[in-house]
């Protein structure tokens, strides 16, 4: 099977999802963009006015609005990537049986899974890009830094979409997706540096937070958009989680779908 044929199969799958998105554009826009925008307004303008400035590790001082905007970019990646992949793929796989439909044509199951992952990651990246654009227009982000943050967001989106697909492949019922949601996703969202600098936490909690992938994503996005020095350990941590989630989710999905 040539690379070209595989790429064509993945493209067919991606385009199927994109066409659904386009057909339901109003719904898609509301669902994809409203949440991060609400967070931006509530925390950026609301809480941001109260808190004023934040001092980061290394002594860098930024406004709370700049601080939280960067965090909300990463949060958009986390939420859109995970939830779309977990719930969306569960519905497409078990209720709509889209995977089986596509894999009974010249498209292979491997291509279906790549297409699903890339689509979920693309959608999460669209959502994060809107926050990056707003942050740039409000002059909180450096335009060049915001642009550089887009591919980083895509990497994070692939990672969290992989986590979503892993969850969906292991869940026996749609309710079981709540387990990782409450036990992993929400703690990450609260304790990985989105809303307050990690340094506020006890040292053990900081170490644990750095093991989780969202901390690395928040750190990289914040460094790029606010033009701060990059914490280099974020790169291998993110890369390791990326490889792990893509590998394991493809494995568990294949095992679930193919006897």
């Amino acid at each position: 099977m040539s690379m070209g044929e595989t790429a064509w199969g993945i493209r067919c799958v991606w385009m199927r999802y994109f066409d659904v998105f386009r057909k339901n554009i109003l719904y898609a826009v509301v669902v994809t963009f409203t949440e991060p925008i609400l967070y931006l307004i509530a925390f950026g303008y609301g809480l941001g006015q109260m808190i004023g400035k934040v001092t980061l590790a290394g002594g860098y001082v930024v406004t709370y609005r700049q601080f939280i905007y960067a965090g909300i970019v990463a949060q958009a990646v986390l939420f859109q990537g995970f939830f779309d992949a977990a719930y969306g793929s569960f519905i497409r796989m078990y209720y709509q049986k889209i995977f089986k439909l596509m894999a009974s044509t010249p498209i292979t199951m491997s291509e279906v899974l790549w297409g699903e992952l890339l689509w979920d990651a693309s959608k999460a990246t669209f959502s994060a890009s809107v926050v990056l654009l707003i942050g740039t227009l409000s002059k909180d982000f450096s335009p060049a830094g915001a642009l550089c943050a887009v591919p980083v967001c895509f990497v994070g989106a692939l990672l969290f979409s992989g986590f979503g697909l892993l969850t969906s492949s292991l869940a026996q019922t749609i309710e079981q997706i709540n387990y990782p949601q409450y036990l992993i996703i929400f703690p990450m969202f609260l304790f990985c540096g989105v809303y307050f600098p990690l340094e506020q936490l006890p040292k053990v909690a900081v170490v644990i937070a750095w093991v989780l992938p969202l901390t690395s994503l928040v750190s990289l996005v914040r460094s790029l958009t606010l033009q701060l020095p990059i914490d280099v350990k974020a790169v291998p941590i993110l890369a390791a989680w990326l490889v792990f989630f893509i590998w394991i989710s493809r494995r568990t999905m294949t095992r679930r779908l193919i006897k």
């Binding site: 064509w8 066409d19 659904v20 709509q96 049986k97 889209i98 089986k100 009974s104 044509t105 006897k259």
Partner: protein, 274 residues
Amino acid sequence: MVGTAPLVVADLVKHYLKPSGEKFVAVNGISFSVAPGECFGLLGPNGAGKSTTIDCITGFYPLTSGEVLVDGINIHKDPKLGRQHLGICAQDDTLDSDFDLMDQMTRYATFFRIPVKDSRERAKMLLKKFGLDDKAKELISSLSGGMRRRLQVARALMTQPKVLVLDEPTTGLDPDARRVLWDVLREERERGTAILLSTHYMDEAERLCDRIGMLHQGKLLDIASPAKLIQKYVPEPVVEEEVRPGVVWKRVANLEDVFLKLTGNRLGGVGVVR
């Protein structure tokens, strides 16, 4: 004939692990071929291995051993090329609920590299043939169960496949819709399409199939024409059956008698066949 048949299944074996971790032999060394224009019926009770066999034939499941050739192409070695010649109507409803009927049909064709502009006319023709043309712009949620089934068969015909695999295509269809499907299958056979049909309707199998493979517990018990199977397993030309207490019907022996005899009437169901 076997070497050149559009569909060749050779010594197909499929094992898999149940969720409990126990090994399960779903298909245990079955072989058959389907010639151009032939309709081959795969009959068997629930759990006999029909759908697993079909999922192996379409290349969806890997084989434990054996070989499946579609138009001479090993479907497990080259699934992309092999499936190019396959039209599949799965037992599950795999209609895409996000698209209208027309879009559904043309989109399916794009998966076979047929551009939308080239497939639109065929989609219109098939929708008309299956009595769905007035629904072309509606979502499938507006269709009845029977309409959904018809659409799924129509979609499988979009690419003019050399091998058509139909897994219980008439489940839920009313007699009128069944006849429409039977007519379409006759046309397909005249075109030279090899048809593999799995069904629980014995009258349908007797009417449509040139040969029938009786599958039971993953093994093909026999392969022959419906008439030969009836002659072989139910030698009495007339069968008496108690259909209700005190009401005995006398009727000509049919494929259902063969089915029950070969698969053991496991559930001890309706009627006492004498």
